[in-house]
């Protein structure tokens, strides 16, 4: 009786094991098929397009023209890939960058701009694929094969990599020769004799897209687009920065001289505030305040950019992008429920519709006390004059000085409007008695009149 039962149990077990093995094998096949599928269907170009639209298009635009929804709000602007002009290369001037150049820019980001380091946020495959995709924006990539410049030595001389005591005097000599080259090659014309742009063109230049561009402050290596090392500086000098006024000096100077010059640039670096002592920080802020007083327009430009002026005083398209031709010309409609519609003012210096006929004092009064020209009071929102009230006198003066330089744009702004009386009273009752905050809505489009 026992043996047949044993046999049947054994048979059952065997059957179960066989079934399990089959299931496992099937599962394995299914998984490998599933894993293989995306690789089989998505080409690098398609995969790159997906990565690009997820991470890059917001700034660089789906067409690669550097015109994403946020592009007009950014300075420096996101790069336009279509002409094939890339700043950070290891290739001769006028050439395209190599894939490695592009990969390095993507992985390390571009300091001093909004381009972040994607290292850790994009896989190596993603980077490769997105490079394939962004090369498709410019026909040049299909026609040319960029070659890096011959490998250069001398990077062991870099002041940052030199060992203590070792070749220190050689570095000093190299820096001295570099200083001479700085004068001979006319670097000071744009970057200033001190590297900080003092008494130089520095600002007021434009790039190939006709947008304002400033000469890099050579004492702040943490803002160098291509990285802070002497080798990075050498590459910029040797290959130039396409699309910007920074030329290649390959024909004007020998390789050794460029290495000396990059050594000199590295020696110009100052300490950033996070490595300064209290006395140094105080002195630094003092110098800064002095410079701001001397050039209020430049300071006002910086303030206007960071105090969100253009955010509300420039009309917005339906897709969230800015109408650039109406920069600072106002016309954005806000609806603050109970109080009706408010349209942001025209800040340009147009006499009739802008601030041309408004006195400095009146501008400051509106800015810091919320008083309109007719003496009526602005709400504490959307115009955040309650925050601007904390601005120092110097900064208020600087802002006014900057606003005075804005090109006049005719854009007549309608006055505030109030909803029908019962609605107005009811909405105010909600706010003052029921304590329900009034929501504010922003509308795209220009509410001003261009005549």
């Amino acid at each position: 009786m026992i043996r047949p039962r044993m046999r049947s149990i054994l048979a059952l077990v065997r059957f179960a094991v066989a079934c399990g093995a089959c299931a496992l094998a099937l599962f394995g096949v299914w998984r490998s098929v599933r894993a293989a599928q995306p690789a089989a269907t998505a080409t690098p170009l398609q995969a790159g397009k997906a990565v690009y639209e997820q991470h890059c298009a917001y700034c660089h635009g789906t067409s690669g023209r550097g015109d994403g929804p946020v592009a007009a709000n950014l300075y420096p602007r996101p790069l336009d890939f279509t002409p094939g002009k890339f700043k950070l290369r290891t290739t001769e001037t006028g050439s395209l960058p190599t894939d490695d150049d592009l990969a390095r820019t993507i992985r390390d980001g571009v300091p001093g701009t909004s381009m972040p380091a994607w290292r850790g946020r994009m896989s190596a495959d993603d980077v490769r694929n997105v490079i394939t995709y962004l090369k498709s924006f410019s026909p040049r990539f299909a026609a040319e094969t960029p070659q890096p410049i011959p490998a250069t030595t001398r990077n062991a001389d870099s002041a940052s990599t030199a060992q203590p005591g070792q070749s220190a005097s050689r570095v000093v000599q190299s820096v001295a020769r570099g200083q001479a080259a700085y004068g001979r090659l006319g670097c000071a014309a744009c970057h200033g004799a001190d590297g900080r742009g003092t008494d130089a063109i520095a600002s007021g230049m434009t790039d190939d897209w006709n947008r304002p561009i400033e000469a890099t402050d050579l004492t702040e290596p943490w803002t160098f687009r291509g990285g802070p090392s002497a080798r990075d500086a050498y590459l910029r000098l040797r290959t130039g920065m396409s699309g910007t006024p920074m030329p290649s000096f390959a024909s004007a100077a020998a390789d050794d001289e460029l290495w000396d010059l990059s050594q000199y640039v590295e020696s110009l670096a100052r300490a950033p505030i996070w490595r300064m002592t209290a006395a140094e920080v105080a002195a630094f802020y003092g110098r800064q305040a002095q410079a701001w007083r001397e050039d209020p327009v430049q300071r006002g430009r910086e303030l206007a950019a960071t105090l969100l002026c253009a955010e509300c005083h420039t009309p917005v398209r339906d897709d969230g992008g800015r109408m650039e031709e109406l920069q600072f010309a106002g016309g954005v409609r806000f609806r603050v429920n109970p109080f009706g519609d408010f349209v942001s003012a025209n800040l340009t210096s147009d006499t009739d519709t802008g601030l041309g006929g408004v006195s400095d004092e009146q501008i400051k009064r509106a800015l810091t006390r919320g008083l309109r020209r007719d003496g009526s009071r602005m709400l504490p929102y959307p115009m955040p004059w309650t925050s601007y009230a904390s601005l120092t006198q110097d900064d208020q003066r600087a802002l006014v000085a900057f606003l005075r330089t804005l090109r006049p744009i005719v854009n007549r702004i309608p006055g505030p409007s109030r909803p029908a009386l019962p609605l107005y009273l009811w909405a105010k009752f909600r706010m003052l008695i029921l304590g329900i905050d009034p929501p504010a809505s922003i509308y795209p489009g220009n509410a001003g009149s261009r005549r």
């Binding site: 298009a57 917001y58 209290a278 960071t306 504490p380 004059w385 900064d395 009386l421 003052l432 922003i442």
Partner: protein
């Protein structure tokens, strides 16, 4: 007392009551009409409170950090961070919870986003964020989880114009704020709208990019 007298008194009382309620209603309407549109706070007081609400930096021991944080305080107070990141209360902004967030941003079909808690609270604020993570949001609008911050909501492109050193000062100051435990809900979508476009609008509005 006759019934006629009683009726006359009743009528007079009703008249008086009617007059009183008409006066009260008229008074309320006049109050609503004439009172300036501020949450029971005059504009000057509003400015004073807002400027004083930012905690001073005097308690910082390290003199260099104190100077840097003071610059950060100037940037934070003038750039209007409180405009959105202050906690709304029943009687206007709650300045005791400086930059603890919680303000609702309604965007039509897209739904509602809520401003984040910027205080150094470990669980609900920026306590666990590294300096570089905060700076990355201010410079590139990218959250630590990789999601994009929509620039029409949080104007990070304007803050990307701060120099790296000013951004450092802002972060230094944010670190000195009083940690406030204030959990901010995730953005919510109006689920009553059964529209595919609404889901997309919500994603675009909150993360600035199309839904992957």
């Amino acid at each position: 007392m006759t019934a006629r007298v009683r009726a006359r008194i009743g009528r007079a009382l009703r008249w008086a009551l009617g007059l009183l309620s008409a006066l009260a209603l008229g008074g309320l309407l006049a109050f609503l009409y004439f009172i300036p549109p501020f949450n029971a706070t005059s504009p000057e007081a509003y400015v004073r409170i807002e400027a004083a609400a930012a905690p001073p930096v005097t308690q910082i021991k390290d003199p260099a950090a104190r100077l840097i944080a003071d610059r950060g305080r100037y940037l934070v107070t003038t750039a209007g961070c409180v405009g959105c990141h202050i906690t709304p209360g029943p009687r206007g902004p709650v300045y005791d919870m400086y930059l603890a967030g919680g303000m609702r941003m309604v965007h039509g079909q897209a739904g509602t986003a809520v401003t984040r808690n910027l205080t150094p609270d470990t669980d609900t604020g920026l306590g666990k964020w590294t300096d570089d993570e905060i700076k990355l949001v201010l410079r590139s609008g990218i959250r630590p989880d990789g999601r994009q911050v929509f620039h029409r909501l949080m104007p990070w492109p304007a803050y990307s114009r701060w120099s790296e050193e000013d951004r450092h000062a802002v972060v230094t100051y944010l670190r000195t704020l009083k940690a406030v435990r204030h959990r901010i809900p995730d953005p919510t979508r109006d689920t009553t709208i059964e529209d595919e476009g609404a889901a997309e609008a919500f994603y675009l509005f909150n993360y600035g990019v199309r839904q992957p």
